[in-house]
Amino acid sequence: MDTLLQAFEGGVVTGSVYALIALSLVIVYKSTDVINFAGGDILMASCYIALVLLVGWGAPYWLAALVAILGGFVIGAGFDRLVLERIARRARGQDIMIAAVIATIGLSYVLKGLVRMLGYADEVRSLPAQFPGRPLFLGNVIVLRQDIGIVLAASLAVAALYLFFRFTKLGRGLRATAEDPRAAALIGIPVARMRMVIWGIASALAAIAGLLVAPKILMTPDMGIIVILALAASVLGGFTNIPGVIAGGLLLGILENLIGLFVSTQAIAVAPFLVIMAVLVLRPQGLFAGAARMKKV
């Protein structure tokens, strides 16, 4: 029983990080119809920004984290402004989804290449734990303070995002842009700028996820591969359903550990892909979304 609870605890912690990254993918997808395959690498690049500031410049942690989150914002917003916006302009109303997705894959490689040039990518690195200290014991289950911190910080980030979208003027403008860009433009909302902000916020969210998870999963230029797990969480929850995506992230984290514990360690690697395929075949709208809807084109 203790082993099962320990696996469950580990799953909740990694699952909350999957949820946070998945959320960054979903808010971009809801607003722009683009799946951001560079989400994991924006996370990775933000972590390396923090690392350079901490190790290279001796900056305090709070400053390194702040700059890393701002860095994530700038990467996302800059990518939309400099690449996606231009692609859209040249497409003159044609569907740019494929071009945009390929551009995100390109961004992913560019970020990996740039990070490798920094000189910090030759070995496995880590960021300091934000919540250090001796582990706590719930019965025989070991709970790290960092784990509690990750779950709380991820929950806070989700809550802050909810409040921002719900109660601020900018948030409402962003939601209007996501729901119907043409109608938003007609009432004077600067759609292009809103999209840029959405990319920035989503990327800052990925950066927060990276800072939380880097002490736990370690840093290499390939750590962005975690985006695949976030995609699986998104599919599991329903790609446009934000509470569903959060639940999907948690469920995937727990599922991975239970499969690893009761089936085989090697099955952990294929579990997310099996989840993606099973959900797409059996319930394409996701486990937590309503009935599938036809999109008007």
């Binding site: 082993t3 320990q6 490798r116 990518a121 736990k216 370690l218 550990n257 360690t265």
Partner: protein, 412 residues
């Protein structure tokens, strides 16, 4: 820092005794064997022999091959300073293969067809090195891999390809179990390895040696290189209640495993493979718990710590050649292949052909003064090295454990 091993002077003398015949002028050392002036193979004249030397000089895997390649070049330079081989100076044609199969193939083809090298000495990454196997076999060009050590490159053996001077994964897996059984005297072993072909070869040797040494693998967990959470495999290992945990995974999962050792408060000894600990200090920093390193050991194919007395002559050679560079831990790995090429050219006689060179390589056996065990080839053997030493590391001090450990598994 505590260092083990025999005194440096003895090691240097042993190496000098081995290489001394190379440095005698051929007319004096071999009066009847002067070069004939007629050569059937390209890349050789009365005064020169051309070797294609390559490795990753750029790209993400540069660290694996940059220093090894220039260490090999320093060795050849030293041989030239002492007069060359049979009176011929070694001329190097160097290039960057980026550890990429396509690039390596282009480099190899260019070296053979444009630069007309006599033989190839290069490759630090197995997938890239293996990709040249078909070409060198068809063209009958000897290919002595620099420090690529994957099993696929040398199993099954092919005539023209020699390698694994650091030992294959069979060596790594087999020697780990040999060490645990012979030195630590443990019977119940938990094993955490990779889920790829590297891991499969490693585990096959570990299982064989476990049977041979009458110890038991009580848990066998194999994980992907990009795994982000090792809770489940480490829980399974904890449930198995082993005497010792053997880790052969890549650096990232190995670090995650050590973090779990710390988190779960596991107190049994941990023995890690060389590929799991490219930088012990970085591992210690990432785990950030001295208690996890109370009983921590890692393997090495070298004869000593990378800065130990056994490695000093290689470090000195490198420093003499490149005073401004600080070598990485991989540097020494490049020299044994260059030593093998040198000795085989010597054994092939004053008028070597590619075929006589390959025949000489096929019967080569020598002590490098660098690696834990001898370099040894045979007509049916193309993997060079089969031994490891082990180092105890507690976060500040590295201590070489006594003995050299050998793998007895030769594959299916």
């Amino acid at each position: 820092m505590t260092r083990g091993g025999k005194p440096t002077v003895i090691r240097i003398l042993a190496v000098l005794a081995l290489i001394a015949p190379l440095f005698a002028a051929p007319a004096r050392a071999f009066p009847d064997g002067a070069p004939s002036g007629k050569y059937s193979d390209p890349g050789i004249t009365d005064t020169e022999i051309t070797i294609g030397l390559f490795g990753p000089q750029s790209g993400p895997l540069r660290n694996f091959g940059y220093d090894p390649m220039w260490a090999a070049a320093a060795w050849y330079d030293m041989v030239n300073r002492y007069g060359g081989i049979w009176g011929r100076k070694i001329k190097l044609v160097t290039d960057d293969d980026k550890c990429d199969p396509t690039t390596l193939n282009t480099v190899v083809r260019k070296m053979v067809t444009v630069d007309h090298v006599f033989l190839l000495n290069g490759g630090s990454c197995t997938p890239a090195a293996v990709s040249a196997q078909e070409f060198v076999t068809r063209e009958k060009v000897p290919f002595v891999m620099l420090n690529a050590a994957g099993d696929k490159a040398v199993f099954p053996p092919t005539r023209y390809v020699f390698g694994a001077f650091g030992g294959t994964q069979l060596t790594v897996g087999g020697t780990l179990i040999d060490f645990v059984a012979k030195q630590l005297h443990f019977k119940r072993i938990a094993y955490l390895g990779n889920d790829d072909d590297f891991g499969a070869a490693n585990l096959a040797a570990a299982k064989f040696m476990a049977g041979k040494r009458e110890v038991q693998l009580v848990a066998t967990e194999r994980v992907p290189a990009n795994v982000v959470d090792l809770t489940a495999p480490m829980l399974r290992i904890r449930q198995a209640n082993p005497d010792v945990v053997v880790i052969t995974a890549y650096p990232q999962p190995a670090t995650l495993a050590m973090q779990k050792v710390s988190e779960f408060g596991l107190t049994m000894p941990i023995v890690a493979a060389v590929q799991s600990v490219p930088n012990p200090a970085a591992l210690f920093k990432n785990v950030n718990d001295p208690a996890a390193f109370k009983n921590f050991y890692y393997g090495s194919p070298l004869n000593d710590l990378t800065d130990g007395p056994g490695q000093q002559w290689v470090l000195d050679m490198y420093k003499r050649a490149y005073p401004d560079r600080t070598p990485t831990a991989f540097m020494s790995y490049g020299v044994p292949s260059a030593q093998a090429v040198t000795y085989a050219l010597l054994l092939a006689g004053p008028n070597p052909t590619r075929e006589s060179f390959v025949d000489a390589m096929s019967h080569l056996k020598f002590e490098t003064g660098i690696m834990a065990g001898p370099i040894e080839f045979a007509p049916d053997r193309r993997d060079a090295h089969n031994a490891s030493i082990f180092i105890k590391y507690d976060g500040t001090t590295s201590t070489r454990m006594p003995g050299v450990y050998v793998n007895e598994f030769r594959g299916e």
